[in-house]
Amino acid sequence: MLTKRFSPNQATRGLLLFTLSAAAWVPQAMAADEAAAKADDGHQYHHLEAISVTASGQTLDEVVQPTKVMTGAELRQAAGSSLGGVLENMPGIANASFGPGVGRPVIRGLSGNRVKIAVNGNDAADVSAMSNDHAPMADVANAEQIEVIYGPSTLLFGSGAIGGVINVADKRFHDMPLWQGQGVIDAEVHLTTSSVDQGQQVSAQVDAGVAPNWVVHVDGFQRSAENYHSQKGEVKNTQTSAQGASLGVTHIHDSGRAGVAVSVLEYDYGVPNADDEDASVAPSQVRVDALFEKIFSSQYVDALTTQLSVNDYEHDELDEDSVVGFFEKENTEFKSVLSLREWAGINSKVGVHVNAQRLALCHDHSGCEDGVPDYSHLSWDGSKGGNFDPVTDANGKVIEFAHDTPMPITETLDTSVFGLVSRDWSVGQHNGKQEYALRIDQRVLQADPDSVRPASRQAQSYYDDRHFTSVTASAGWTWLRDNHKWGVAVAHAQRAPQADEMYWNGDHHATFSYQLDNPDLEIETAHALDITFQYFDRQQQWDIAAYYYDFDGYIYNELQSIKDPYHGNDVYQFVQKDAYLTGFEAAWLYQLNTQLAFNAVTDKTIGRLKQSVNGEKNLPRIPPQTLLLGLNWQQGHWLLKTDVKYFAEQDQVAANETKTADYVTLNALVAYELEWQRTHFDISLKGQNLTDAFGRNHVSYLKAYSPIAGRNLVLDLSVVF
């Protein structure tokens, strides 16, 4: 089912094993050689095939910094149904969730705009970075693979993704024909049911060769779940439903391919809260993607890849049945990457990237059914309006509130050029790879106050255009010898503030909080150092990473010491302070015998401000240290896994933030796969949190109201034919 464009040699397979996540590389552990030997027996898992990082067009061993890829059965065996839930057992990744419905990944303590979420290489174009109650518009139901990309390669996706890029790749575009004298049809059906929330999911996809050079892809899914239960009972307002579908057509020819796809995605999920009010969020997105790839026979140019993505996103925030909040985002993204012919061992890519975004919202207790309001008919003399109420905080700082959401309509135009150069190096028995990347971004941010009533407008100058130019440069080197691989990556990364970080202001109904604007935000600069070490032999594997990010003007959403004067809710504001994050990830796999393997995974992140706020230097919502210990047994068609995961107490908390106690979960999986009449069946039963432990997710804004799910049994059936 995976892309077969790249044919890896055995060494590639070995490297591949390094790069897989703990969850992914456990079952096949030491089986690389065996897998190659029994390549035709039909029992090996899909990820033993060649895996490419679809978005960058590189194979795993071609990227300098380890890229984690989760594919096929691993996706279905993962912990959750949300993007964050699927990835949360990967080292260094946490899940900013409040229940099964929504989960945005947090990488090394970095979240929001520092973790970019992409769909087939293009921006997910959602508003999930604004607040983690907003679901990422990248569903895993029909994902072919999920890639977590670090280091220089992230510059192909955009600036600011210092934490990494998570790319959800599906099969809406093909690069190989499905034609063997006649059309070939590939299809998959997946059924899942879970006990903790009475969840049900069905997904299916079909890929058909309708002509020698034409492939059509269709997929769809539907998911629903009731309120989940924690150890302490039902967690109200955590019901979810989701559905989506996509249709893609690809024309493949000798010198490239072209394709177009359209997809729709809808969610509707509750938001738990202190008073068990009936609050929910219902996002939807219509997405059109186009892809054009041209392979040249030129002496200088290898290929040109151009992508265009047009997205129309909106979501309702509901109080019972009334739409009291409405977010709308229209996004058009164009990216063109020119791959130059290898010259003197140098592979290079250059590209341009243009992204135009329009973001607007409404907050109105009388209802936002008409969408974003227009008050251009009301007269305004350009002066500040009268509906601001001053509140003085404990430090004597006067903060002005307005009950309505005086966020202007914003239009952001990002224009970027970038280049990526890589070259292998070799000295004696030592060899490796070096990679350099540079990206220059120009952001123009325009604010239009027409959606704000004059009484809640700031003075005219507040809405003046803002221009930001940011430069990001990164470099990475690997050194490979025998069974060792060292990697070092450094980066100077700049990120211009987003429109929502500067202008979002007002009651955020879904999270029962109040957001304050900060138009004074400037470019955030990070200097990053990332060191990786990998080791493998026939008995064991090690995968260790350590990192240090130094931020000049780190932008984060800080919990304020005062309460919203209209509702008594928590108040947040994006502020900018110097900070650093450092930490490590380590994974060890030890093969006890040919069937049984032991694995251990741990990670730790420390995030601190350089100057304290109210006596505290810690950054908020930093994931606690975790330690996972697992045993995996695989024989024939059977796979058994069990693990214990410890989440340490998080007492390194920010000002006004509460501590989170430690907890332990016990999880198990039994899976059976069967090949019958060229049809592949996978059936698995997962037991999650089998001891029904109680715990809270420190990285969630709503941890107080949504403890972790209690004991859960998940039955999954997959048929691939």
């Binding site: 049809i185 299809a187 059906v189 059924l191 049900q200 069905v202 997904s203 299916a204 079909v206 769809g220 899914f221 539907q222 629903s224 439903s241 559905q243 509707d268 219902a282 309702d316 509901l318 109080d319 019972e320 049945d321 009334s322 739409v323 109105d364 207790h365 009388s366 209802g367 059914e369 008050y375 009301l378 007269s379 309006g385 009268g386 509906n387 109420d389 509140v391 509130f401 009950h403 309505d404 009533r453 004059p454 009484a455 809640s456 919203d564 004067p565 209209y566 509702h567 008594g568 009449q677 060229r678 049809t679 048929v719 034919f721």
Partner: protein, 411 residues
Amino acid sequence: MNTLFKVSALTVSSLLLAACGSSSDSDSHSDDVHAEHAHSLLISQANSDALSVLEEGQAESLAGTAAANGAQLLLADSGEAAAVITAGSVQFVFVHEEHDEEESEGEAHDEEEELPELSALQIDGVNPKVINSNGHFSVLLNGTTQFVPYAVLENAAPEAETVAYAVTETYPALLLHEDETHGLLTLVFDGTNAVVYEGDEATASTTPCATVNSTAHVDEFAVVSCTNGENSTSFSVKAEENTTTGEHEAEITTIAGIATAVEWQSRAGVFVGLGADNKFYVLEENANEALEVEGTAFAKPEGLCQWGLDSQQADIFVLTSSQLLVLNHDGSQAAAVTLDETSNASCDDVTMAAASQAVFVLDNSAQKLYEIDKDEGAAFYHIHGREDLSVNDVKAAVNFHEIGGQATHAH
């Protein structure tokens, strides 16, 4: 695998998807109406005989025949009835709670809905005057007061109570106490004096009161503003039980420091008055269990069109043509809310209906209804919501809501 098998399997999965997908259709909410902040606003209009209830800003005529063109509306002190006053009649509207048991997702919900309804009682006559007094509407018509208990308005044939005083009254009498044994204890205005009556007999308790400017009534206290010639005073009347006789007696006490005609209102156990001297007066009970002016009177804000009191804390609402101001009892400004979709309105365009920690402002010029409220424990009043008005000739409005007794904070 043969093609037939594939097609069959895909068909099954498609049906599964369709079946699951269809189940979410019932979750559709985009057309659902706003429910949380339901209110019960009764309005009269300048160009319509009909009384209407505002639902989502849409005026829906009240069932029954009303001759309410340009009517004044007077909310009962209980908050659950209103008098509709025109030059030729007084009608009454009451609300009754309707309990609807709804079942959704297996859970039963008891929904309470307040439905305004026109009472069968109608009092016809020229230029009636109506005030609230001790659980009654007090209606003066042709020199005689009729007391209309709020509680009888729901009856099929409600009747007013009349006392045959041997005087021609000039202002609706105040009902100071109602006793089944001893009859009514009332304060009657005869154009010269205010006289306490027991039943139909005058007592010795009396004070000069040629012209009544206003009255207000809270529990055992009533406050009256009178003008005698060029002098204006305010006095309180306190109805207390005589511990010896067991009968209720009324004591009249002049309130010191008020030498101007005052428009008195009361809510939550607090009397607030706006004087002809353009000052607000707030009364509090002193150590001698008498009413006195709290602090010093303070100037009314510029541009005042209308004012009223919050039912819970007696916060003072002052409506101008562009703002709703909220004043504390010491005159300090608790909030200034700009009517942000109103422009170039005049006092004739705006009206308001006070509620509990909330006030509704109606603007005919912008055809907007503003719901301004303050959440429990919050610091500021704010515009909670706005609705488009379907009419532009609102004359008066009242908001039906439960009104309690004493304020929940000390004054």
